[in-house]
Amino acid sequence: MSYLELTNIHKSFSGFTAVIDFNLGVQPGEFISFLGPSGCGKTTTLRMIAGFELPTSGTITLAGSDVTFTPANKRNIGMVFQSYALFPNMTVLDNIGYGLRVAGKPKAEIAQRVAEMLRLIQLENFGKRYPAQLSGGQQQRVALARALAFQPKVLLLDEPLSALDAKIRVELRNEIRRIQQQLGITTIYVTHDQEEALSVSDRIVVMNQGRIEQAGTPTEIYNFPRTRFVASFVGTINQLDCTVVDAARGELAYQGAPIRTALSLHQSAGSTVKLMLRPEVLRSGLNGGHNNLTGRVESVNFLGSTARVRLNLGETTVTMDIFNERQLELPQVGQPHTVNFLPNACWVVEEEGT
């Protein structure tokens, strides 16, 4: 049995179903991200774990105990909010020590623990400040320290970096991961930012319309997406409508051009499938007599370490990412250009959906 287990969780709000048949087991010390678009049910699920919402059906167990109906203040689960939610009337010291104070811990113990937490978040000299005297990033660090100070069983983070600017977001997400690994605390992180989820998580749970689409490690989610939604939501994906030529040998045709895959397909010859390609697997130039796509360059965006080229193939557009090098010659907009890919760099989904 997992440390935190959600079994058959359903949640409905007056006619609207937010979470459907959610099953997940979380191991001790694991960092799990719930990833999905707005309204996919990720925050609702997190709030059910925290105890702020009751599931319509299903059970939540934590360390072997059923906590489905346990009030939020009895669950021993720390939470960090998007809006920081620091108490404006309390100093940083008082904010961090609040959980210990309401637990009735001795003052000396609170002071010692708060000092430890301040060291952990590297804000030793900010203890006497009020939240309004801190920057957004500092406030969120304090919120993290406050959620950790009372040694919760699980740490929940609800889009904690959404209100921060891009540079601070990257810094803080690495810091969250560092602290999580240092303390070994079981953590659930809600985000709609795929890069955030990919960079910090042990496992990612991709959600859509209240359901789990796929749960797996970041590389599994990115390289082996099980549904078209996961493929398109996590990272950029090129989708080409291809006709099956020889299913057993994985041969397809795209607008008459031969495509070879390393897959053994079950679709009958003549049926249509979606060929999925990540932008980084496309390379400029011809590759023998197959897996070549020729079109006109629609746009070229130089992004520093990479360049993104969009190629118009007539009925669709494909995106190609090229790694930068000093001698790189970028294709010219409006000129014809051919790209190719390896047979094992693509996968196929059925036309009708997942």
Partner: protein, 265 residues
């Protein structure tokens, strides 16, 4: 140039507002000093202060004011907090209910109170103590529009739901959340509501008069009917005393932490 012109008009309008407020006050003050013919003196003030009824009525109204403030805060802060947290849709209903004291004339309200509570089963006019309970309840209702609005504005200035959830996740129960998070973050709102509430009780006439309690309002009316200079002195003194009390409330409610942030996210 434009900023400067706006600046000038701000001073002009500010000056006019001050004149509007202070001129009558100055007139009253000047008149109160002319009790002795041909010279300014404090005779009117001495006469008022020598009257034991003045101090007792002021004392009574001040105590009633403090009780009203305390009970109003204890009643409205948790109620408005609960409405914000659990039934935000009920806020417009609260607005309508709390505005009723502006719509129903106080005299009608007092007769309603007397009619309802002068006989069984809720007889509250038989003894002075019971009447004091009734008058305090009456004052709370009269102060309701001000207290509700002050607390309502205060609740809007903080993210009540998220702060509550943050405190809950840290193990706090409802009472601890109210005492540690909500009340301290409503300090300015509570203070402004309390000031208006207190001033209202000090100057209130009709409840005190019809429920026959020794309040300051009926005493001032009585003095105003019988004498000339003393009512002016009384008006100035009641102003000064009310301001002093308000200042004291403000001083004590700060709790000594002058640099503390009071509201905001």
């Amino acid at each position: 140039m434009k900023t400067k012109r706006v600046h000038v008009w701000a001073w002009v309008w500010g000056g006019l507002a001050l004149l509007y407020f202070f001129l009558p006050l100055y007139g009253t003050l000047e008149f109160s000093l002319r009790m002795q013919k041909g010279q300014y003196s404090l005779l009117a003030y001495q006469t008022v202060l020598a009257d034991p009824q003045f101090l007792s009525s002021f004392g009574y109204s001040a105590v009633m004011g403090l009780i009203t403030v305390t009970l109003s805060v204890l009643l409205f802060v948790p109620t408005v907090y609960w409405v914000y947290l659990k039934v935000p849709k009920a806020r417009p209903i609260m607005e309508v209910i709390t505005i009723l004291p502006f719509i129903i004339p106080t005299i009608v309200y007092v007769f309603g109170l007397i009619r309802t509570f002068s006989g069984p089963p809720f007889q509250l006019t038989a003894t002075p103590f019971k009447t004091d309970i009734l008058i305090t309840a009456g004052y709370i209702v009269l102060a309701m529009p001000y207290m509700f609005r002050a607390v309502d504005v205060g609740m809007r200035s903080i993210d009540v739901r998220t702060l509550t959830e943050a405190a809950q996740s840290l193990g706090a129960n409802r009472v601890q959340i109210l005492l540690h998070v909500i009340f301290p973050n409503q300090r300015i709102a509570i203070l402004s509501g309390a000031l208006i509430c207190f001033a209202l009780v000090i100057g209130e006439l009709i409840l005190g008069d019809f429920l026959v309690r020794p309040a300051l309002g009926p005493y001032m009316v009585q003095v105003g009917r019988d004498r000339a200079y003393e009512p002016a002195a009384l008006a100035i003194m009641s102003y000064a005393l009310t301001w002093l009390c308000l200042g004291l409330i403000q001083f004590f409610s700060r709790g000594g932490k002058t640099r503390q942030q009071l509201t905001g996210r």
